[in-house]
């Protein structure tokens, strides 16, 4: 892919260099960035994995603007890097022709004060309403313990469709019982039909990355990374460890690699079963919820057996894993996996045979193959629209290269297709689990990493239950990271929810939003919620205060 791009833009690329076997760094001037990215994303079909802006004023007096694109079919990652000097805090937005860059660029604007010129929608994304406009938390000059003065709260400028006064405004969130996480969809509804959708996120942002680069050492971060998400914790720990090990040129011991795969697959099974249950509940089929979670609980029990915890295993750390799997536990695990497989297959057959359930899933929340590519969606959402991407298969990490499994792909593009992709995912994961447990190689499970060179850019990719989790890392001195950016799958999938929702009915809104399996805390990288935001008509920040007093 590097050659293709060099051929297309012979004069624009400043340097190209290989960071790792499958990762290349391409430097270009910031004026050329949009043209090159438009070609790479729209013509060559690269998937936008993440976009990171970094403040380097303390060492180089400039800012880095990195767009990371991945070609799954080639197994290549390209980091497109442009620099902008201090005092010149602007760059050209690529959102007008690469719509999936929307959120990333808004985040760069808010967290670093880099203005994306030409961005069609430069509203707030992550920061609280009362956060001052001239404070940028990800700048190096911003100390993590700064007391932030409160700004006068202004209301959030929502988008409205034409003739919006003709329609009802239906608020969906920020706390909606069907999603259980704070996100705010604002529907304009004509009767029950949704004619306009606007999305507001950011209720959860706590600047985890800032904490990581200013307070934590390399060894602390996996545990914080694991707490980015309540469900796919190991995925984040693994992506971080992979990025760090990649930067250090370190290979974890063989046995550790296999145990990591076991952790990741166990998490995938439990996450997909959780989703199947929640999805059943969303369409009013509570029996499905109860039954899927009954099966899932066996996996939770297995997790407790292997790691000591039902969630937040703390297993994956840079250098390997923290606990070994003992022989007797390995055998019990194999037995549990067989039981789960049997019960799950029986249950799935019964559930998918239900007519009323199927009717709720077929044909709703349609996302076409072209839209899926254009929005760089990932994971089951992409695979349900016929985009066959899977990090496990395309960028084999840990032991995945020597395992046998299929990637479930559907072409329907609707909620049923997403359900089937996830349902089949569980069967594949069970297969992988069995292979791992049967052929677990011997040897140590952890080796210390001796030296981590500074200023190395590295990308870690992991196929989480919801899609590709991309961790971007620049190593620093003093045993800390210089920049760490988490791109959870929901960050890529959520903007596409708008496309799925328009024209559908209110009755299907829950299951459509649910079908991307949104993990808001992942998307916003958080631990605690700390914001009351302006929701017109419902409760404004000051209203809430008034009501409570």
């Amino acid at each position: 892919m590097v050659e293709e791009i060099r051929k297309q833009f012979p004069k624009m690329l400043i340097t190209t260099s290989s960071i790792r076997g499958n990762t290349w760094l391409i430097e270009l001037s910031k004026e050329n960035l949009p043209a090159v990215l438009e070609y790479a994303h729209n013509v060559q079909g690269g998937n936008l994995l993440t976009m990171v802006a970094t403040d380097r004023v303390d060492i180089e007096d400039d800012y880095l603007i990195d767009y990371v694109l991945g070609w799954y079919e080639l197994g290549q990652i390209l980091v497109f890097r442009a620099k902008t000097r201090r005092g010149e805090e602007t760059f050209n937005s690529i959102t007008p022709f690469v719509p999936c860059a929307d959120w990333y660029e808004r985040e760069a604007k808010e967290s670093l004060g880099l203005i994306p010129v030409g961005h069609p929608n430069p509203r707030k994304l992550l920061m609280a309403d009362d956060w001052p406009d001239d404070l940028f938390p990800m700048r190096k000059g911003f100390k993590v313990d700064t007391q932030v003065p409160k700004k006068e709260t202004s209301s959030f400028p929502f988008e409205s469709p034409e003739n919006s006064s003709m329609f009802n405004i239906i608020p969906y969130g920020p706390y909606h019982f069907a999603i259980h996480e704070p996100i705010y969809f604002r529907f304009h509804a004509d009767g029950e039909r949704i004619v306009g959708v606007d999305l507001r996120a950011g209720f959860n942002y706590r600047g985890l990355e800032k904490i990581a680069e200013s307070r934590l050492t390399y060894e602390n971060i996996p545990f914080i990374a694991e707490r980015v998400c309540g469900i796919c914790g190991s995925v984040h720990a693994e992506a971080y460890s992979q990025a760090l090990e990649g930067a250090a040129g370190f290979e974890p011991p063989e046995r550790a690699k296999w145990i990591r795969v076991a952790m990741l697959e166990m998490e995938r099974i439990h996450s997909q079963l959780l989703w199947l249950g929640v999805a059943s509940h969303m369409v009013g089929f509570d029996t499905g919820l109860m039954q899927f979670w009954r099966v899932r609980d066996k996996i939770m029990g297995l997790a407790e057996l292997l790691t000591g915890n039902r969630k937040q295993y703390g297993m994956i750390v840079p250098g390997g894993v923290r606990r070994d799997i003992r022989e007797d536990k390995r055998r019990t695990a194999l037995q549990v996996i067989s039981e789960v497989q049997m019960e799950y297959e029986e249950l799935l057959g019964a559930v998918l045979g239900l007519d009323t359930l199927k009717k709720r899933l077929i044909g709703v929340g349609y996302l076409s193959n072209e839209e899926a590519k254009k929005y760089s969606v990932t994971g089951p959402v992409a695979r349900a629209s016929g985009v066959s991407i899977d990090v496990r298969r395309d960028f084999p990490y840990e032991a995945y290269g020597s395992l046998e499994f299929k990637t479930p792909v559907e072409s329907g593009g609707d909620v049923l297709a997403r359900t089937l992709v996830r349902a089949n995912d569980v069967l594949e994961s069970i297969k992988i689990m069995r292979q791992v447990l049967e052929t677990l190689p011997g040897g140590p499970v952890h080796e210390p990493i001796d030296y981590i060179p500074p200023d190395v850019t590295s990308v870690g990719l992991v196929e989480g239950p919801r899609g590709t989790d991309a961790h971007y890392l620049i190593t620093g001195r003093d045993n800390t990271v210089y920049r760490w950016r988490v791109r959870a799958p929901t960050y890529a999938n959520l903007p596409a929810a708008k496309l799925m929702l328009e024209g559908e009915t209110l009755a299907d809104a829950s299951i459509i939003i649910g079908s991307i399996d949104p993990c808001i805390s992942c998307a916003e990288r958080v631990v605690v919620v700390d914001l009351r935001s302006g929701i017109e008509k419902i409760v404004l920040g000051e209203n809430l205060g008034r009501r409570l007093s």
Binding site: I170, F177, L506, A507
Partner: protein, 305 residues
């Protein structure tokens, strides 16, 4: 007017309506591999809600206060129109009034939604109206054919009419199918739709007003579940004298309640929620069924079945 049976009806209804809901919850729980709450749970819920504060939303006015009471009164009035465990009904010709009350109470529930001013309540209310409009004709047709077959609109256990088996069964089946929607449980809980509209019309109600609404709904469901007792008694034509009395009256009534609860629980556990459009298609067929039973009930004596 029979005051004694009215008093018996009202006391009995208030006592067992929440228990019947508790029974439904218990059966549903068992079907879902759960232990489930005790069958007195719905009673506990109502009592607890009465001890809570009631919050009046800014947009809620006079209607918001009145609707819960209206719901309760309408539901209680249903028990003045039928006999439950007494041989005689409180009033004569109560069947017609019962039909009126069922229709009226569905619309009261919808008004509860729009009275709160909450967009979810409004959407839930409009769904309730649409669903009621679709279901009520079948419900009315099946009840009218029951009245025709029994030869009297008085809802008690005596039968004077010409009982033809086929229209009676058709009408009974149509009634059961309407009961699913009328009871507001999955798969026809489109108005409340927990995961879509978070309770729809109920969304803004709290404390005593919610308890009143809930109690009203329990009572309404109990009344609806009581009707099949008249189908059963029409089938087995009880003799209302001597020892046979309790068997003839209490047994059909209890069988009717338990049967309805089982049907509701099964439907709830084995289905996902219908969309309105699908519900209307479903009730198109039910309407045909009930209309056919009505025609047959009308023609049965002439045909000499």
């Amino acid at each position: 007017m029979n005051i004694l049976s009215l008093v018996v009806n009202l006391v009995l209804a208030i006592l067992i309506a929440p228990l019947l809901d508790g029974l439904r919850r218990k059966i549903t729980a068992r079907l879902q591999n759960r232990v489930g709450p005790p069958i007195t749970q719905s009673w506990h819920d109502v009592i607890k809600l009465f001890s809570k504060e009631s919050i009046l939303p800014e947009a809620g006015g006079f209607l918001f206060v009145v609707v819960p009471i209206l719901t309760l009164v309408l539901s209680l009035s249903m028990f003045a129109t039928m006999s439950t465990v007494t041989a005689q009904a409180p009033i004569e010709e109560g069947g017609i009034i019962f039909i009126e009350l069922v229709v009226l109470s569905a619309f009261t529930f919808a008004i509860a939604g729009s009275a709160s001013g909450n967009p979810y309540g409004v959407v839930g209310g409009s769904r309730e109206v649409i669903l009621a409009t679709i279901v009520e004709p079948s419900m009315i047709a099946s009840l009218v054919s029951l009245v025709l077959l029994r030869g009297s609109a008085t809802l008690d256990y005596s039968t004077t009419g010409y009982i033809a088996l086929l229209p009676l069964l058709m009408s009974g089946l149509a009634y059961f199918l309407c009961l699913l929607a009328e009871s507001g449980r999955t798969p026809f809980d489109v108005a409340e739709a927990e995961s879509e509209l978070s309770g729809g019309p109920l969304i803004e109600f709290s404390g005593p007003s919610l308890a009143t609404l809930k109690l009203g709904n329990y009572l309404r469901n109990l009344a609806l579940c009581s009707i099949p007792a008249f189908y059963i008694s029409a089938l087995i034509a009880p003799k209302l004298d001597g020892v046979g009395y309790s068997v003839a009256v209490v047994i059909p009534y209890l069988v009717s309640l338990i049967l309805c609860t089982l049907v509701l629980s099964l439907a709830e556990s084995l289905n996902a929620r219908f969309r309105l459009l699908e519900a209307s298609r479903f009730y198109g067929f039910v309407l045909l069924l009930s209309a056919a039973s009505l025609a047959l009930a009308y023609l049965a004596p002439a045909l000499g079945w």
